[in-house]
């Protein structure tokens, strides 16, 4: 096994960790952190970043996700021009934002818009955990609230994929208030009869799990995704309790009755499409 080879080499020669890492050609091969198997990146991408060996769901970027869900060339992005500011004058905040913009080519931690899913128009918000750990500040809250409002106005179903460490510290209480803003938008959408599906991906924690992520008509999660309000470390430190291994995983939430289903990425589009079809207003009225 490749893993054994690497292990043996480390033991008996002076090859450093750094060099070992370099044995996996950058941009060509990828190691699964769950089973340690090495795969071609192309193979992994083709498999929607699900490990072909052990089924581990690797993070998807927002655009990879959008491509995996919507019919080719049918999506448009909304509100990309809404830009982060620094309301608390937090030191280095905008520099960090700029860095993540360059790294991810995204303007913020969420991409919102509209696309066709099996020929049906759907409004979406897809978060990207690479951008400031997917944390929610004013822009994330604003873009999601606008997407929900627009879904209401255009009578579209709304699908959200969450990936977030929670509220963004650098915007303080304004981040907290985005939980209210998005939740009120959902209430309005729901009252108008709108269908909302939330899919929690790794990780969905803190203020995001305690607002829109949990407010879908249907709430799903990807396998093994970490989902919870308080962080595991904080709970362990405060309560000195031993936490089960599966604590705050998608499967744990399913067991305790907090989500509707755990859904494999390969089955996602089909499931969402089916559900949206079953709520199709035209069918009902005709």
């Amino acid at each position: 096994m490749l893993k054994d080879i690497f292990g043996r080499r480390k033991k008996h020669s002076s090859v450093s960790n750094e060099q070992t890492k370099n044995d996996i050609p950058e941009g060509l091969m990828k190691k699964c952190p769950s089973c340690n198997k090495i795969f071609y990146e192309k193979e992994m991408a083709k498999n929607m970043e699900v490990c072909p060996k052990c089924g581990f769901h690797h993070a998807l970027s927002a655009w990879e996700r959008i491509h995996s869900l919507f019919d080719a060339d049918t999506f448009e992005e909304w509100d990309a021009h809404v830009q982060t500011s620094n309301p608390l004058d937090f030191p280095d905040y905008l520099e960090k934002i700029e860095k993540d913009r360059e790294k991810t080519k995204l303007s913020e931690a969420v991409v919102t818009g509209k696309g066709m899913m099996d020929n049906r128009p759907v409004a979406f918000s897809v978060m990207d955990s690479r951008f400031r750990m997917g944390s929610m500040g004013s822009v994330v809250g604003e873009k999601i609230a606008r997407a929900i409002e627009r879904a209401k106005d255009e009578d579209l179903p709304f699908v959200i994929f969450t990936a977030s460490g929670g509220a963004r510290m650098q915007e303080g209480v304004l981040s907290l208030m985005q939980m209210s803003k998005t939740s009120i938008a959902i209430k309005r959408f729901s009252k108008a009869g709108g269908l909302m599906i939330s899919v929690m991906t790794h990780p969905t924690t803190g203020g995001v799990s305690a607002s829109f992520a949990s407010l879908g008509d249907y709430n799903f999660a990807e396998p093994e995704a970490l989902i919870g309000f308080a962080g595991r470390r904080i709970i362990e430190q405060t309560t000195r309790e031993k936490l089960p291994d599966d604590f705050q995983t998608a499967e744990f939430l399913l067991k305790h009755g907090h989500i509707d289903r755990v859904v494999h990425r390969h089955d996602m589009k089909k499931l969402l499409s089916k559900i949206i079809n079953m709520h199709g207003k035209s069918e009902v009225s005709s």
């Binding site: 990309a80 021009h81 809404v82 830009q83 982060t84 500011s85 309301p87 608390l88 937090f90 030191p91 004013s138 822009v139 809250g141 604003e142 609230a145 509220a167 510290m169 915007e171 303080g172 209480v173 304004l174 981040s175 907290l176 208030m177 985005q178 939980m179 209210s180 803003k181 939740s183 009120i184 938008a185 959902i186 209430k187 309005r188 729901s190 009252k191 803190g206 203020g207 799990s209 305690a210 607002s211 829109f212 992520a213 949990s214 407010l215 919870g228 309000f229 308080a230 962080g231 904080i234 709970i235 405060t238 309560t239 309790e241 936490l243 604590f247 705050q248 305790h256 009755g257 907090h258």
Partner: protein, 319 residues
Amino acid sequence: MQLLEFEKPVIHLKEKIEELKKLTKDSEIDLTEEIKTLEKKLAVLEDDIYGNLKPWDRVQMARHQQRPTTLDYIEHLFVDFIEFHGDRLYGDDEAIVAGIAMFHERPITVIGHQRGKNTKENIRRNFGMPHPEGYRKALRHMKQAEKFNRPIICFIDTKGAEPGKEAEERGQSSAIAQNLMEMAGLTVPVVCIVIGEGGSGGALALGVGDKIYMLENSTYSVISPEGAAALLWKDASQAQRAAESMRITSYDLQDLHVLDGVIAEPRGGAHRDVEFQAKEIEKTITQALKELTNLSVDTLLENRWEKYKNIGAYEEGTE
């Protein structure tokens, strides 16, 4: 009474003046002049200390052991308070109290976080940190208020949601989220007042309303200063610095356009004069209800949405 570090000079000077007064009274020596000088000095010192409270000083005030709690204000503000228990699903969370009472001859629903003033009470109240059943109890009462067309008064005073295994198992996230969404749609006026600490999601779960006020020395924050320091600088002892950078005081929130108003506290904090404090709160609630009561349900809900829609800071940029 628990003394806070920053106010010790004031207290020491006060004690000294008292001593001199006693001496003047009990002996032949006349110290009236000295007392007068010291009293002048005291006034200046008080102005200086209480007029320039730093964020961290206010954090200490908000957490003061004797700071009045929800039940204190209920006693002073309302008559015939009847508390009701339980969420009808799992249990009764004593970190949140809820019930009905009369306010100016009109029934209202009152809900608030409840912390203790000593260790025993704090254990009973879990230090004011709710479990999911607390939020669900609160929501049950809000829905009932809606049914009987009673305004809702919420007092916010919590370090935050209980960080524990059972709270997660019983759906902390979804319980908080449900409250946010359902409060958004309540057809009766909701007035929220932060009376102590407004800690993160646990506070917000009672905090979606038509009016949000804060007592002058209360705080409202996405995370505790200690937590922020640990996350941002990997050092919980930097809490003081975090309290400043995070902008968590009532005046900060007013500047950030989150609040409808700051409610004045007596000099030295609410615990120095509960009656004065209750009067100030009473004025605020009276005014708020006057503004909200005659609005149509549509206007009420539309205004509520407008209020929250406008919270946040971003630049529109160009498309």
